[in-house]
């Protein structure tokens, strides 16, 4: 069976607790359900473990995304095995522990699910054989730990701690991703096997410093190395089983695991030493020193964890094989004693209701058994002989003495190590003395404390037993595992080392004793030191971090608010500025200021027309605050544009422009009823200047381009249209044939736009309430004559007349200027005139007032005309036309395009009426008038 399955098991296991919860509320059953698959995984590990002990490296790979180089590749070597055992073993103990820790009210199912999720992710990290895959699991640990830390999410501390942990480790994860991608870039593969033998290649690459920094960023954030350590103490807001798991054997160990994993590939350089050893030393000292001053039981353990992680990091940083072995050894030892200590702390918390060491005193009397366990474990943490901590610490002291990296300053390393040891002893002493002795408990929430339930102590017992066993019989217990793990770490032969409790009377032993007595001395001076510490400026990393994040958020909001100030003008100005920039950068490079062809001769009428147009446009702008005057000027512009179209051979355009103009005025008048008639002057001078500049540049640019194109030669596709209009499209008005035939699809889209606009306007107008003016612009009441006789009487017979003209314009459209669109507009205007003259009520008595179906029929007709060509095996909108002869009447021609044009006609009529009639009806909702 493939060992890789065991990575999957915890993930599957995460489904178990919710499943069990469905059928039973028994907490033990639930815990068993949660433990089932991890246990299976642990058992399944036995056989592969034997192979690993036999010196094999097990590999298993399934392709996932080969194009990215991301495959589901797993490796089980000594290092992975060691971590797998830690992850699964301690994980199981934590599950057992949590069974008693969690109160019946808590959602234990969810808790176990998260825990197992995390377990799976962690297992994935340690067994990945593909670096990308490892990053994937790496980030999964961040995500699942987010859920675990935030488990008690009703507490602010838990929420913020969770977010902080995830933000910091997530950031590191992104850096790691970048680093891994670069490694892949250098090595050409993400396969661990390949990467581990390419150390020289990586270190020779110019990218090496960058890679190292990015990877280490990942490591340091995850392993809470200085200066990224601050998230860890706040992760203590998690339930204690979580802390026992995440901060002893797993989450924070992922960082140092990575140091071990990539040791052959990245280590051995001065840069490595400089960064890794420095960070390790700083963390070691800082963590150890601060730990002493924590009054929170878990806080003390958290800083101690930081410190020990620093120690491990420092060991890896020393660039010595023996140090690496020591590091691996300390990883094991730290996991065991720290997990047990957290659990003990949890028991104390559970039984006393507090974690404040100033209140917890003299527990020896109440829970002696727990006290013994905790004391043994803290002694291991302090490095007391005959316990496992002593062994690895001894190796650590020896290695600091060996290192010569710092040259003349090499003594700094052992000094720092000893100092770390001193504090380590001091906080361990505090943990023992302050909790179990030191007088009577003060004001405990739960009093008197008892020993915890029997099985809650089991995990602690097991771990403590391991501490002792390893400490006394290292060769029989841990040696084999350590050897394979270290071998896998180093990627080659192991250096010589001895795991024995007695190395003789040597320097490391002296350092140990200095640490022991120094620590006790420091602890004896604690009152003075606590006072000193209390006088230091309080710095809560969480507050600082939260503050930073919030400041960042505020800054982001400010920047965003600055850019997105909710002002249409500034948005439009950005867009237009971009255009102006394009014009200003491109136009000066033009090869000339005149095209190849000669201009048409100028004539007086055109000149005057243009002058009027320009004057009217400028007046529209200048007088825009006098709205009605501005509209009048705009009408002049519209008229002149129509005449321009007449002048330059575009009668179709002139007709369209003229009729659109009328409808537009109707629209504006309808709107003006609800709008102020004047605008105050409110633009600042700067703004006016800016806008004038923009307007000038863009206008000038467009004018220049227009001039150049007009005076240039153009060979276009148009001759085709002129040539095929009659034979192919059956019409002589080429513009119209283009509209209904060559480019009929455009027209189809265009009438759809019109229809949609009408629909949208209808939707906008529904339920719209506007206050209409009770008085006119001069403050008089409105006139009473709503439907002047002359207007009414003349406009009514005008309707059939206008319709006749519409038919005329429509029918000639295919061959001469005109067509469905203009015809539709004429019809609409004639009908709108009825609305204006006689009112909505009168009109709607005479015809249906809902124009939706008209629009629909129009577009449908146009569309069906297009679909009709399918019947004959032609594409959409293929037209046909033919000559017909009727006796007496003569020849005439029919084109299917006329049917399409009918659709256009109907849409235009329907849409304009839908828009304007409904806009007109708006005022009916307002009961302002008498005698209307």
């Amino acid at each position: 069976m493939n060992f890789a399955i065991l990575v999957l098991l915890p993930f599957l296991g995460a489904l178990m607790p919710p499943l069990v919860e469905r059928f039973s509320s028994n907490r033990t059953l639930l815990a068993c359900g949660a433990a089932l698959l991890p246990t299976a995984a642990l058992l399944m590990l036995i056989k592969p473990a034997q192979q690993v002990f036999a010196g094999q490296t097990l590999l298993s790979a399934v392709d996932w995304i080969p194009s990215l180089g991301l495959s589901l590749a797993f490796r089980l070597d000594g290092l992975a095995l060691l971590f797998a055992i830690l992850v699964l073993g301690i994980g199981l103990l934590v599950i057992l522990y949590a069974r008693y820790y969690l109160s019946p009210k808590e959602k234990a199912g969810r808790f176990y699910a998260y825990l197992l999720l995390f377990m799976g992710a962690m297992l994935g990290v340690v067994t990945s054989d593909n670096l990308l895959l490892m990053v994937l699991f790496w980030e999964l640990t961040s995500l699942s730990s987010f859920l675990l830390i935030g488990f008690w999410n009703h507490q602010t501390g838990a929420r913020k701690g969770a977010r902080m942990a995830m933000t910091v480790t997530g950031m590191g994860g992104l850096a790691l991703l970048a680093g891994v991608l670069l490694i892949g870039h250098v090595v050409g593969s993400y396969s661990l096997g390949q990467v581990l033998i390419s150390g020289a290649q990586i270190q020779a690459s110019p990218l090496y410093p960058l890679i190292l920094c990015l990877v280490l960023l990942g490591v340091f954030t995850k392993s809470a190395q200085f200066p990224f350590h601050f998230w860890l103490p706040h992760a203590m807001a998690a339930p204690t089983p979580v802390s026992a798991y995440l901060h002893s054997a797993t989450m924070v160990k992922a960082g140092v695991f990575l140091l071990a994993r990539l040791y052959p590939a990245l280590s051995g350089t001065d840069l490595w030493f400089d960064i890794v050893a420095t960070a390790g030393m700083a963390t070691l000292l800082w963590g150890a020193a601060v730990a002493l001053f924590q009054h929170d039981l878990k806080g003390l353990l958290a800083y101690s964890t930081i410190s020990h992680l620093g120690l491990i990091t420092l060991l890896f940083g020393l660039n010595s094989q023996l140090a690496a072995v020591a590091a691996v050894f300390h990883i094991i030892n730290h996991a065991t004693f720290k997990a047990s200590l957290f659990m003990a702390a949890g028991i104390i918390d559970h039984e006393t209701g507090t974690r404040d060491m100033r209140r917890i005193n003299g527990l020896w009397k109440y829970m002696p058994y727990t006290a013994v366990l905790a004391m043994v474990a803290s002694a291991a943490m302090a490095g007391v002989p005959l316990l496992n901590g002593f062994l690895s610490k001894e190796m650590f002291f020896a290695e600091t003495l060996e290192s010569s990296h710092l040259g003349a300053l090499s003594w700094l390393l052992p000094l720092g190590a000893t100092l770390g040891g001193v504090f380590s002893v001091a906080y361990s002493a505090r943990f023992i003395h302050d909790v179990f002795f030191n007088g009577e408990p003060v004001n405990l929430p739960k009093y008197p404390p008892h020993e915890p339930p029997r099985y809650m102590k089991v995990p602690v017992e097991i771990l403590v037993a391991l501490c002792v066993a390893v400490g006394v019989f290292p060769a029989f217990t841990v040696a084999g595992l350590l050897a394979v793990a270290a071998q896998a770490t180093l990627g080659g032969a192991l250096p010589e080392y001895h795991l024995s409790i007695w190395h003789g009377f040597n320097a490391p032993l002296v350092m140990s004793f200095v640490a022991l007595f120094g620590g006790i001395f420091i602890y004896s001076q604690r009152r003075r030191l606590f006072d000193l510490y209390a006088r230091l400026p309080a710095m809560d990393a969480r507050l600082v971090f939260e503050g930073r994040i919030q400041a960042l958020g505020r800054l982001a909001s400010a920047i965003t608010g600055r850019l997105q100030n909710g002002s249409l003008q500034s948005y439009a100005a950005w867009l237009l500025t971009l255009v102006a920039v394009v014009l200003l950068t491109q136009l000066p490079n033009l090869p000339g200021w005149h095209g190849e062809t000669a201009m048409l001769p100028l004539d007086g009428v055109s000149l005057l027309c243009a002058g009027m147009l320009v004057a009217a446009a400028l007046l529209t702008t200048l007088l825009h605050r006098h709205r009605m005057t501005s509209i009048m000027c705009l009408s002049v512009v519209g008229l002149m544009v129509s005449l321009l179209f007449v002048r330059f051979s575009a009668p179709d355009l002139a007709l369209t422009q003229l009729s659109v103009e009328v409808v537009t005025i109707l629209l504006l008048m309808l709107a003006m009823y609800f709008m102020p008639v004047r605008t105050r002057a409110e633009s600042s001078v700067i703004r006016v200047v800016r806008d004038l500049l923009l307007a000038g540049v863009i206008g000038a640019g467009v004018a220049v381009m227009a001039f150049l194109v007009m005076t240039g030669e153009l060979s276009s596709i148009s001759p085709f249209f002129l040539e095929h209009s009659k034979p192919g499209g059956g019409g002589t008005n080429v513009v119209n044939v283009i509209l209904v035939d060559f480019r009929g699809f455009d027209t189809f889209g265009e009438i759809t736009v019109l229809g949609i606009a009408a629909m949208g306007i209808y939707a906008l107008l529904r339920d719209m309430r506007l206050r209409s003016a009770r008085y006119d612009a001069l403050g008089r009441p409105w006139a009473k004559d709503a439907h002047p006789l002359v207007l009414v009487t003349i406009s009514r017979p005008l309707l059939p007349l206008a319709l006749l003209i519409a038919v005329y314009i429509f029918l000639r459209g295919h061959n001469l200027p005109g067509g469905g669109f203009v015809a539709g507009l004429i019809t609409s205007v004639a009908l709108l005139l009825q609305y204006v003259a006689s009112g909505v009520g009168w009109v709607h008595e005479r015809m249906p007032g809902d124009y939706h179906p008209v629009v629909a029929l129009g577009v449908l007709l146009a569309g069906l005309t297009g679909v009709g060509s399918w019947v004959f095996g032609f594409p959409f909108l293929t037209t046909t036309h033919d000559h017909f002869h009727l006796p007496w009447i003569g020849d005439f021609e029919l084109a299917s395009a006329m049917l399409f044009d009918t659709g256009v006609f109907l849409t235009v009529v329907g849409a304009t009426l839908l828009m304007l009639a409904n806009l007109g009806k708006l005022s009916l909702l307002d009961d302002k008038k008498e005698g209307a």
Binding site: L568, S570, Q586, V753, G760, A763, P875
Partner: protein, 493 residues
């Protein structure tokens, strides 16, 4: 002759027309019509994807007029992909709307269908002016949809959106005019050919034209400094509308990519405006990250995520000669659907929180909050680009394909901003609760719609390799414009 290629335009058009004809109060009929059309679109989109998958480029000559004289529709892999994406997004969005959002105002279903018609038309057309027309179709429908429902904020945002796009349309026409005035054609393929040949004055003018087009497409795509309208518009739109809008920015991107790949990937004007677009894309990415950090509502935050994906994508697309197009397309599919899903999710959360809405403040406990929180967690992971979901895969692929330090930094930082923003949002909406409230439990249909959209995340994760391969093939075809030109113009070019 096969007419299926025009179906993505005609089906919604027909449905839209029927919806106009239907009697006002028959809501059920309207819903059925809309959903039938959306599912038909989905089926057709799958069919067309199958058709295009083997590399065939199908050309449909409307009115039986050959290109470059008539308008043609062109179906290649890119178009098929975009059509499929639209259909996949539209169906759940509509399903979601059919639980009541569609009745908040008039003509919702008609506008929705026309919106689809416009989007599909823009993807299908092979003609520049016709592209303009379909842009207008999709814009006018989107105006209506953006304003669907009520509220001053919506109206204000809508006003900005409309006015800016009207200016944009004017610029579009200027650009098109210049293109016609210098190359004498409107057909994209023909334009690609002619653009290689213009010289002198015409070339200079053509450059301006194309830069203007970039600006216009950039406005639709929501590129810096043209995206300012987007957050308010999207955040204030009704949820299913916002979800559908997730594809709208992609229409702008599509237009840039299409024209660029056809005419400016090489030749005398190779790389026209590329540097500018690249710079703008990176700025967009950075500012979107800042926007995500500064957002105080989930809707706004998701809107910035949309912008972020635009920046990410455009930067990738403008890098090199479209060399990163494959991963970009993968990421495009992922980000469009996930952003769509997030808009729906934001709405469900807001409904569950009553007064507190989707703002990042303490609020009541959300009924069935566990399900929503779980979905949110997954969606957040996906959208931020954390493992193991499709976002991570897409991001890795992009990072590999665009080895530019600045891009890496920005992309990773944007991811971090997303992480901070999403975790803050999630923690304050799901965790910071004030007790039981009066919020609404998410209904089954709405949840289903959300799940359909979210399903794409695991799908794109599990079948990442085939998806990546397909995206690569789309990109591969894009990199060979001569195939497109050959298919459209036949022997003429």
């Amino acid at each position: 002759m096969s007419h299926w290629i025009i179906a993505p335009i005609l089906i919604p058009a027909l449905a839209g027309m029927l919806l106009l004809l239907e009697v006002r109060e028959w809501h059920r009929l309207r819903r059925i019509t809309g959903l039938l059309s959306a599912s038909a679109l989905l089926a057709v989109a799958v069919l067309l994807w199958e058709q295009a998958a083997d590399g065939t480029i199908t050309v449909y000559q409307l009115g039986n007029w050959a290109a470059p004289f008539g308008i043609v529709l062109v179906l290649d892999r890119l178009t098929a992909l975009m059509l499929l994406l639209t259909a996949v997004l539209a169906f759940p969005a509509l399903l979601y709307a059919c639980r009541g959002d569609d009745r908040k105002g008039a003509n919702f279903h008609g506008l929705f269908q026309f919106q689809l018609m416009g989007i599909n038309g823009a993807f299908l057309t092979g003609d520049l002016f016709n592209l303009f027309v379909f842009f207008e179709v999709l814009l006018i429908a989107s105006y209506g949809l953006a304003l669907h429902g009520r509220g001053p904020a919506r109206v204000k945002a809508g006003l900005h959106y409309v006015a800016l796009n009207l200016v944009g349309s004017a610029l579009f026409l200027i650009g098109l005019g210049l293109i016609y005035g210098t190359t004498g054609t409107l057909n994209m393929a023909d334009f690609a050919v002619k653009a290689q040949a213009v010289t002198g004055m015409d070339q200079a003018l053509l450059k301006v034209a194309v830069l203007l087009l970039w600006a216009v497409f950039g406005l639709k795509a929501a590129l810096f400094p043209l995206y300012f309208w987007l957050p308010a518009t999207y955040a204030n739109a009704t949820a299913p509308v916002a979800a559908l809008f997730a594809i709208m920015t992609k229409v702008g991107l599509y237009a840039i990519v299409r024209v660029y790949a056809l005419a400016f990937a090489d030749g005398p004007l190779a790389g026209l405006g590329q540097q500018g677009l690249w710079a703008l894309a990176l700025t967009t990415l950075a500012l979107a990250g800042i926007g995500v950090l500064g957002a105080r509502r989930l809707g706004t935050l998701v809107a910035y995520l949309v912008i972020m994906s635009v920046g990410t994508l455009l930067a990738a697309l403008t890098f090199g000669q479209l060399s990163a197009a494959g991963p970009a397309l993968y990421y495009l599919v992922h980000s469009t659907l996930i952003c769509g899903a997030l808009f729906l999710l934001a709405d469900l959360v807001a409904r569950g929180r009553g007064e507190a809405g989707d703002r990042f403040v303490a609020g009541p406990v959300i009924p069935a909050g566990g399900v929503l929180a779980g979905l949110y967690f997954m969606a957040a992971i996906a959208v931020v680009g954390l493992p193991p979901l499709s976002g991570f895969i897409g991001k890795v692929a992009l990072l590999k394909a665009v080895p530019v330090p600045l891009y890496w930094v920005l992309l990773l930082l944007a991811g971090l901003c997303g992480l901070i923003g999403m975790s803050r949002a999630g923690s304050s909406m799901f965790w910071r609760t004030t007790g039981p409230g009066e919020g609404v439990r998410p209904g089954r249909q709405r949840l289903l719609a959300l799940l359909v959209l979210l399903a794409v995340v695991p799908a794109l994760t599990l079948w990442a390799e085939p998806a990546m391969q397909a995206a690569g093939q789309v990109a591969g075809q894009l990199a060979q414009p001569q195939l497109y030109i050959q298919a459209v113009l036949g022997g003429q070019s």
